[in-house]
Symmetry: C2
Subunit: 324 residues, 2 copies
Amino acid sequence: MKLLDIYARMRKDIAFVERELEESIHTDHAMLEETSLHLLKAGGKRIRPVFVLLAAQFGRYDLQRIKHIAVPLELIHMASLVHDDVIDDADMRRGQLTVKSKWDNRIAMYTGDYIFAKALMVATQLSDPRIHQILSNALVELSIGEMEQVRFFFRTDQTLRHYLLRIKRKTALLIAISCQLGAVAAEAPEDICDRLYAFGYNAGMAFQIRDDILDLTGTEKELGKPPGSDIRQGNLTLPVLYALRDPLVRDELLAEIERIRLVDGQTDVSPFLRIIRNGPYIEAADRLSSRYIDRAIAALSGLPDIRAKRDLIQIAHFLGDRSY
Amino acid sequence: MKLLDIYARMRKDIAFVERELEESIHTDHAMLEETSLHLLKAGGKRIRPVFVLLAAQFGRYDLQRIKHIAVPLELIHMASLVHDDVIDDADMRRGQLTVKSKWDNRIAMYTGDYIFAKALMVATQLSDPRIHQILSNALVELSIGEMEQVRFFFRTDQTLRHYLLRIKRKTALLIAISCQLGAVAAEAPEDICDRLYAFGYNAGMAFQIRDDILDLTGTEKELGKPPGSDIRQGNLTLPVLYALRDPLVRDELLAEIERIRLVDGQTDVSPFLRIIRNGPYIEAADRLSSRYIDRAIAALSGLPDIRAKRDLIQIAHFLGDRSY
């Protein structure tokens, strides 16, 4: 598998970032260290740091500088996960108990605040004000996106545009700036930074669409949590919005969503999953995801033909096609 | 009243900061704008911006620069209040419904995240990396302090040191850096910035001790919320820790705290308040608060004798003595 080759080749630098991540959340406060490490140790693809490292190869690659971008971006992602778990009332993430489930909501909220703050502290090691402006702007959008998600829970009148704007804020933007800031920190020319931003944005959109598809099609074993988590919390994703536009299933689907809403998601959602899986909606969502991947790859077209560019293309393909 | 004179004299600049505060949280997102404004409009003493403005007078006073410190510090304070209200399960603050009570916990958490992010965005308008390092470091300590507060809820075995470290992180540090960063942004000499930090730290300690006293001695009308809120959530403050060291009331007090703990604070706490009010514990806490005020004022001793210095001294006296 190509992706594993890329990770294998980068393993030294990824391991370095991993150690820095661990160090960054170190504190004498035993409980915060435990809650933060709990999350860190649960793993994850570290896709944001990987993008930072690859993007930095279009400039002057200096790991000692770039780590101050790679670490904060993963930390910000982690912090938003902890806060999401409070909101989603999620018990499992990546096959492990969530912080809010192992401890409680209060501790999860403050753990998130702590990890956010640590992320900023690491980033302040770089003095380029552009970096901080890009980062804080993304944090604002991220928090708006999270709020939007809550506001649109179970809202069957939402449009595709609402969905796309939401996943842009929730996911694509952070991946976009991972690519952009990796290049900025490596002092790459501005147009290269911009192209990498466009790459990351499009790859991130595909990534989230794919993630949303997997929640509908995957098994509990594959996902590390039961499928249908999205609908249980009221999150209507792309295939669902497609299905709602299909007169053949619309009424049945509306009734099913309403049934789930009325019991706050505490129910068997397999009838809902069946409606979505049996129509062409997953396929249609897949097609949109592929279009984003195509655009991501097109964004790289003007870039020098270095190995990092080929790696980014491989990863983009993986993100759009992955089945786990 | 001296304090009102100071505010009156500064009213143009305070009003300017107030407008900037409102503008800073502006967003096209209607609900976020509403939740954020709700909190802003509830008012408050704006003590952090006032300290920023006064401290800046020890350097080159330029409101267009200094606002990028005054606004974030008040926003950070506000954001931490919103998150605290989630934790404290508080329904009222400053005589108004809290965000978590008017909307819900999820919205309060994301409103806090949003206001934090906006605070950072404003601060990034200043490029001096020291400012961002000081700010992000304070955010880390603040989040540790909040977590510490939760960890020590109802812990009758805690020491005075635990209490003092907690209020340092929760309150004094943010006031300390308000004074420090006001001077840093105004490019005051480093030793002046350091002295102002020491002033703010000590004034902040006195401020929080006083706040904790008021929660025990004030009336609902004075406080804008019922007295005894601290003990209902399990927060043991200085007079309570003094009382716990008094063999005359210790057993009775322990029993009372345990009674309150067992019902999660959902009870009449007047027997508890009576024990504290009837002993010399409030007085002892007042004495420690006064000592912090003395230290705050002493920290200013080397500074040029400008009006801002006399104003800071007045405010410090007010913070240590205020009865509302």
